[in-house]
Symmetry: C2
Subunit: 443 residues, 2 copies
């Protein structure tokens, strides 16, 4: 029998396919053709069955689905470390928003998004959900870098250098949605900034379009206790209830943060099949509160992970977020068994894919899915001895161990070198922006 | 004027000396002779004043004091990932202690300690406090690796392969204390395991020796809520009060964990000038509780940082612990300003030095102190742009960015390569131990 010609064969010491659950394959290979996974086979069998255009031998590595960073503001990487150690409102209102008012432009967004994508690719993220402005520029840069992205067009009641009011933001967003409707790697979502920054009439327009176009809704929600109190004062109900009344709790709604979550919120999330995006490092850094991840998972709510923007994290390393999630979920639940290592890996892969409505395409290494994958080297002294691969990936690993990355079978990272972005140019660009945004000497 | 001959001149783009507080020097050099820091000078001035035997030019790096890991069990690195996602008592009683009973030996301790030291050196730790068994072997390996260490001899009421009862542990520990009394890089501490595992008579003996010999006392304390309840049942008071009654709250006492800390505990810590060692990742992973770091620091209590053993963390990267500390302190205090980046760096350096009674020697880069230092490369895409070096070191850094390390002017790490330990041998040794401890297939 003649071997079947395929594009790519990746032999890897270990494979974590995510489905079947909790499994680690050893000495297997993933076969890829026409952007998709054909299957996982023992290495010897794969060598006989296939003749691949390109063959990898990754002998100290684990191959797994690319990570899904389900919330961030990529361009804000240009403000990483610009204003630290401050609470959410003064951080946002006295520092970040004024800096954005001064500097936000299409070029800011292009340059910041590229730097963010370089960091995300290098640390294992292949798919990210973004919420920012100048989405046309973001979409172009995402296509050029070859990543997969849900691009959320921000809607606000107040003007920015990008839009003058809610109608204007929505109008521009819908134009982007139409333009990219046929793209396999780009999805456009409507991203009302937060319940406190978007009025009822604008929310109703969003609800209409989200329902009509089956468009994802991506929104910051229940981030701080103050947000709840203000909503009760202004609207007579908690923000989540207000969103429900406005018809915005949909199966494609992604609620980011949810640090203030009581039993009635959990019931509402269950009833409406909404997704929660947990951003533990940002929530801790801004002292926003603790999301009850263990309770949400127990209630069957889908919980994905996000880094949030680099201005409040300050990195975009989803492996670091994964470790923080596992540790914090246990600590908050008061139960060391509240989230095990395999469950944490699912949150960063298939749960993210589900939240973005992409679980038919990504999030696991299964036949027929898109070849969105990463290889992680398990060879550092900090990863020895090796009793339990999932534990090692969650508790001793960081994004710096990622060596390879593919989206739809196309390489984005090879032996730790970026394939589609130029690191040297990006570091220069970051330095130029720093000089322009804050020209004073350090310290 | 003839330039002064010195051993070492390190030119570095940035220097964080820790003292003066909150400062970052740029384009300076540290001059070192006879194991000690002579001073910090502008690079041009240093080039004129000194003729150094060895000169470094670290152009993308920050030089800072080596990190002090103030609590761990180095040899337990051989049990990294052996039993994860379990609560403290079953983790300890059903898994870790049985494994130790089967495998604990002098060779286990030598091999495990070497692997731990390799990881600690590679990630920026130059000084560590250890609590384990077979201390003679630990001391020999520490000397051979060139690290600085406070070696705590564990005291327990029950037997282990190392000792038969409390008297036996104390006897062996005091012999080690005598033997190493003249060593500048090794200090011997008495380490009663915990209030719940050491009886009053043994504690009284320890108190006598600690007072007589001015010997540090290193003890797990108030790690879980259960520990408090049990103490009240058995002794009629909280463990901290019992230690005070036994004369064990001394200015050289290091209380590890303190996740259960009320106002009366804080007053007692203030009154007795004791030190707290905070191990946030271990506390989170075992769901032990939250140490109120912000309140302790506000009360003037010295709080140092520890990774704890690799069996409950699972890495020994103190930069990761530093980030977790900064994030968790804010989250627990409900105040994003509760601990800023510079304060977090102090916890990992000078506070650790104070806790171990070594602040006259290490913890800052000041004239006359021992040249215990590290260089950290700030060049990754995740560290751009650079507005605030301390923020970058705390929030976007990890141990993998450490390139150089010196203890008393002697190099332990150069360009990320270990100088005194053999990485390949250690990885082989870890693999051999894994096969011996858990020979079954993974998964």
């Amino acid at each position: 029998m003649q071997p079947t010609k395929i594009d790519l064969l990746i032999n890897c010491e270990w494979i974590i396919p995510i489905v079947p659950k909790d499994r680690v394959w050893q000495n297997c290979a993933v076969a890829i053709d026409a952007e998709k996974i054909i299957g996982i086979f023992p290495q010897a069998e794969a060598a006989k069955r296939f003749s691949a255009h390109k063959v990898y031998h990754l002998d100290n590595h684990v191959l797994m689905p690319g990570l899904v960073n389900a919330h961030g503001h990529a361009a804000m990487t240009l403000l990483r470390g610009y204003a630290d150690d401050l609470p959410l409102r003064p951080w946002l209102e006295d520092h970040i928003w004024p800096a954005e008012t001064l500097h936000l432009s299409e070029k800011f967004v292009r340059d910041g998004t590229k730097i963010a994508m370089a960091e995300m690719i290098a640390s294992g993220t292949t798919c990210f959900a973004d919420m920012y402005f100048f989405h046309e520029a973001i979409a172009e840069e995402v296509r050029s870098a070859g990543m997969r992205s849900q691009i959320g067009f921000t809607v606000l009641d107040f003007p920015t250098p990008y839009g003058k009011d809610a109608d204007d933001y929505i109008h521009k967003g819908l134009a982007l949605h139409d333009k990219y409707s046929g793209q396999s790697l780009i999805k456009v979502a409507c991203a009302p900034h937060a319940p406190y920054s978007v009025s009822d009439p604008a929310m109703q327009v969003i609800s209409t379009y989200a329902n009509e176009l089956d468009m994802p809704v991506h929104i910051h929600c229940h981030e701080t206790a103050e947000e709840i109190t203000e909503s009760i004062t202004s609207y007579g109900c908690r923000p989540l209830e207000r969103l429900r009344n406005l018809g915005l709790l949909l199966p494609q709604t992604q609620l980011v943060h949810m640090t203030q979550t009581d039993a009635s919120d959990i019931t509402m999330l269950q009833d409406h099949n909404c997704h929660v995006v947990h951003c533990p490092q940002s929530n801790m850094k801004l002292a926003s509160g603790f999301c009850p991840v263990g309770e949400l998972l127990d209630a069957g709510v889908n919980v994905a992970l996000g880094t949030d923007g680099a201005a409040s994290n300050n990195d975009l390393d989803l492996f670091a977020e994964l470790k923080t999630t596992a540790l914090l979920t246990k600590a908050v639940a008061g139960d060391a068994a509240a989230l095990n290592a395999h469950a944490a890996l699912r949150m960063a892969t298939i749960n993210g894919a589900k939240a973005l409505g992409w679980d038919d395409q990504i999030g696991t290494l299964e036949e027929g899915k898109s070849a969105d994958m990463i290889a992680v080297e398990i060879n550092s002294i900090a990863q020895q001895p090796l009793y339990n691969l999932a534990s090692q990936l969650v508790y001793t690993n960081s994004g710096s161990q990622v060596t390879h990355s593919w989206v739809a079978g196309k390489p984005l990272l090879e032996n730790r070198a970026l394939s589609t972005l130029n690191k040297g140019e990006l570091i220069q660009s970051a330095s130029d922006w720093r000089n322009s945004i804050q020209p004073k000497a350090m310290d």
